[in-house]
Symmetry: C2
Subunit: 221 residues, 2 copies
DNA sequence: GAGTTAATGTACGAACCAGTACGTTAGTCA
DNA sequence: TGACTAACGTACTGGTTCGTACATTAACTC
């Protein structure tokens, strides 16, 4: 009954700290995203790895720090994606639209990340505050927006008074809401915001919205 | 929200089922909003009322049903607010802007409700699905949007191809994100989206965005 | 190839927590 | 006024869950 015959370590390394840590992070990401911080179970996370609960405490210290590590890695992924942004060869209008579309795509492709951010907000962003790494990650996307915005405003294509952080918030709002609130929105209004056949519609809607806002003639004040 | 502000009548009834239930709901709303569904403690909710845990089970059946009851009441409040909407005497542009502003205000004034909705989405809207009451509440706001939109489109002020549910999603996105994600956004970008001195700025931004979108000339396709 | 340490597994405990068995009292009405 | 019932309180339980003490082994160093 014992002997689920493991190949008695012929050449492969049984002990691999990096692999064990990565596996724990993978599983923990799924579990935290699925059930929330308090809903997730350390025992359950351990059971879904090839190692034991002991290793979670050995490498991460505890549930709280594990969640922080999960967040750090998740934010690292989007930072990397943002660093690969390549839209500045386009004219400002096309560049902003493209940037919005890539943001849209990234949100759609990483629902677990969206859920983690929701969860972290429920907890007042205390883990981000406690993390040295997360405190100081800038947003490459923000720099890109800043430059496109400046170019568009200089050429007179965009209205002058739009701030990059605000625009980022506007774009993120739409992308985030569509994924994060799809369950309640679907239940209450009978429309699945993430339905595949609606994808292009909402992607275009976001671009239209942002461009309309940036190019609209604002009432002088 | 029907809060319990009853001045503990000296010779009056000690036993008051309605008051006890309302008090439990008040406290539960705060606790669930504060800590999430799994983070909230039934004992803690009971301790913060003038009654005991026994009464929670007596009136609501369990934690799950209590949370559903909290959601039902919270959604009831916004439905009531939406029924008091009075913007249709305005021209379509002003009416939509006003509607967006009122949505903005309501989100700002009910952060607990926003948190409950976030929490419910983490749990896949399963409580809404299980609730008979919540399944069938329409949105009065949606009807208002529909009518304003139709008027605006008929008069040629608005572009023809905008759907009411989509517009509602757009407006809600911005309002929701600003409140729900203020912690992570603030921690990462150093900007408090809910800072009082930024309130008018973001309120105007929302209105500008929606009006720009509705009145923009879309590229024909 | 002996010693050292990083990595891993096992078993357990103490606190916590949702839910309940059972007893009590206030208010009502015949 | 006495019986009945809705409303309420106390005390407990059984299972869960985070965390840890202790044992063990793989792999590296010299």
């Amino acid at each position: 009954m014992t002997s689920v015959d493991e190949p008695a370590r012929p050449n492969g390394r049984i002990r691999d700290a990096a692999r064990t840590q990565a596996e724990i992070l993978d599983v923990a990401t799924r579990e935290f995203a699925r059930a929330g911080y308090d809903g997730a179970r350390v025992d359950e996370i351990a059971a879904r790895t090839r190692t034991t609960k002991r290793m979670i405490y050995y490498y991460f210290g505890g549930k709280e720090q594990l969640f922080t590590a999960v967040l750090e890695r998740a934010y690292g992924v989007i930072r990397e994606a943002e660093q690969r942004l390549d839209v500045e060869h386009l004219d400002p209008v096309a560049a902003i639209r493209r940037l919005a579309e890539l943001t849209f795509d990234h949100h759609e492709q990483h629902p677990d990340f969206i859920r983690l951010v929701s969860i972290e907000n429920i907890h007042g962003a205390e883990h981000i505050a406690a993390s040295e790494r997360l405190g100081k990650i800038g947003s490459p996307a923000l720099d890109v927006i800043r430059r496109i915005l400046a170019a568009g405003q200089e050429s007179g294509l965009f209205t002058a008074d739009v701030d990059a952080v605000d625009l980022h918030a506007m774009i993120s709002s739409f992308c985030f809401f569509r994924v994060a609130n799809r369950h309640t929105f679907g239940a209450l209004f009978g429309r699945d915001l993430v339905a595949p056949d609606q994808r292009e519609h909402y992607r275009a809607m976001l671009g239209d919205m942002v461009i309309a806002y940036l190019t609209a003639e604002r009432a002088a004040d």
